[in-house]
Amino acid sequence: MGLILFYLKKLFTVLKNEVLVLPSRVAVVLFFLFLLLLPVFTKDTYLLRIFTLTSIFAILAASWDLLSGFTGQMNFGHALFFGVGAYGAAMLNLHVHIPPWASIPLGALCAVLAGLIIGIPCLRLRGTYLALTTLAFPLILLGLVFSFTDFTGGEMGISGIVRLTRSRVTDYYTVVVVMLGLCTIMWKITDSNIGIIFHAIREDELAVRAAGINTTRYKLLAFSLSGFFAGISGGLYAHFMRIAGPSTLDLSLSFSVVIYAFFGGIVTIYGPVGAVFILFPMLEFLRVVQDYRTLLFACVVLLILIYMPDGLFRWLRDKIEKECPRCKIRNIATRNTCRICTAPLD
């Protein structure tokens, strides 16, 4: 009893001193609560379906950020990981009858393999060359999918996959919990020593190598980690939609991942996730004006980027918070002095 009280007290202190002092942290907590409590208030299957898909793509966008945002290895072919994950999970499920809880991670391992296969030749390339080369890989695979139709299902894709879970609500909870967990893991990775090395590789690879760090190994690690998370999202998508089709390898998917990431602000993890949660439901609700849907979407993206070229969420965060000039701790914008070292904020 005393132990529980102690932990409750500790939780309360952390909440009061660490979370409530910064609006961005409050926003993250509210976001978690909103996602976890949504089915309590509404059982509308359409709404749940949209948010399930949104969560799946949020994993994908965050995994792109982990690779391309943090290490600066511009990947324009992120659909490769998603597609390989989806097709891998679908084939394992259909031909070997592996249930979803195992087929999704195994599919993700296929995506890791794909990440290593494309990572090794791509390590010698940088910048634009890398971006344009990675673009090619999902399209090559797409050509193969269309030519070997009896193995891949061609245009129709692979259908008849087992459902993720029995009902929409449990589907929703599975995907959302996986999404929140994986995004927290990705955020933790980027906050760790590995994340610092990723940052450094983006800023100045030569200097990192001069410091005695094997950058090749870290870049391959970034490719495989990102491939794994993207593969998981691909597998979830295949089991949720119960189909793995050529659209999972499409050029437009690769592009939309990049759009999400830059829209929210790269090198943040929360930016791409937030962007997906704004843009994807927006695209769905714009179905009311079906014909103008993509046009409006493109206009919104264009306008936001002209005014906030660093991404929406970075811009917002800079508006509501400022950094202490002395101890580099973030403070709410309304404060006049730093909450830790009481240095005056400008």
């Binding site: 060359y129 090559i140 050509g143």
Partner: protein, 291 residues
């Protein structure tokens, strides 16, 4: 024998189209460091422009070509000035802005013309036969005008002062600026030149192609493959790379089973193989790492 002629014709035509597109894409990247993914969207717009002038207004196709090139180039320069120039420092934002721009063009076109397939009649009708293979005059015209424009561009870049300014800005922006070259003006002119090339390509290709709002996707990928294969910023590289990939596609389409599906894959695989051996492309200069 007929098959060989077919392959040669198809390879030459798609090679010239890729070359024109790739050179335009390459020069704006060199000068302004803009990865213009809307490049082939301008090509699509030019094609539609010709359709309007010839089919809806019933004017001579030559007027259509002129109108297409002038209007689309203007549109390109305006969108550069308003949308891309203010955010040029943020490479990622520029990239997304060009994708969004391409999507806007595509959607506007499909709102106006719906997503149906349209076609435009040839500028010169008729054909002649070599060894039993029909060669349309239009194909000959497309090929020859592409070569002419590329030669003209070569002279412009190598022999005129503006061309020199463009080349030096592409080599080193800061030093070019120190030598008194108005960098903003050069970027503007280059954008005009680049979009002009794209619209010209659209204009000469439209009688041979099917007109639809999504027609920019496939050439975009091939164009980028050509640019990477030849080496970024190298005109010679783009030219040779374009014909390599053009012929590779033609060979696959005519010789391999399921060729129409595999042509893109084969061309892209060639690009990747070359890059594994030479990471800076066939004729690219390996830059010192930009720091």
């Amino acid at each position: 024998m007929g098959l060989i002629i077919d392959i040669i014709i198809s390879g030459l035509i798609s090679g010239s189209v890729f070359a024109l597109l790739a050179i335009g894409f390459s020069i704006i990247f060199g000068v302004a460091r803009i990865l213009n993914l809307a490049h082939t969207a301008f090509y699509m717009l030019a094609a539609y422009c010709i359709y309007i002038v010839t089919q809806k207004m019933g004017l001579n196709p030559l007027w259509g070509m002129l109108a297409a090139i002038v209007l689309v180039t203007l549109l390109g320069m305006i969108s550069y000035k308003i949308l891309l120039n203010p955010i040029r420092e943020h490479e990622g934002a520029v990239l997304i802005a060009t994708i969004a721009l391409a999507m806007i063009f595509q959607e506007v076109m499909s709102l106006i013309f719906t997503a149906t397939f349209l076609s435009v009649p040839a500028l010169i009708k008729g054909y002649f036969t070599i060894l039993g293979v029909k060669v349309f005059f239009q194909q000959l015209l497309t090929f020859c005008s592409a070569l002419l424009v590329m030669a003209g561009l070569w002279v412009f870049l190598m022999r005129t002062k503006t061309g020199l300014a463009i080349r030096s800005t592409a080599q080193d922006r800061e030093v070019a600026n120190l030598m008194g070259i108005d960098e903003a003006r050069v970027a503007m002119v280059t954008m005009g030149l680049s979009v002009g090339l794209a619209s010209f390509t659209g204009a000469i290709v439209v009688p041979l192609a099917v007109l639809e709002p999504h027609m920019w996707g496939t050439p975009l990928v091939m164009m980028m493959a050509v640019v990477v294969l030849g080496g970024l910023g190298s005109l010679k590289g783009s030219f040779i790379g374009a014909y390599i990939l053009g012929f590779a596609q033609a060979l696959v389409v005519f010789l391999a089973p399921m060729g129409a599906f595999l042509k893109g894959s084969v061309a892209l695989s060639i690009m990747i193989l070359v890059l594994i051996i030479r990471p800076e492309g066939l004729f690219g200069v390996s830059f010192e790492e930009e720091r």
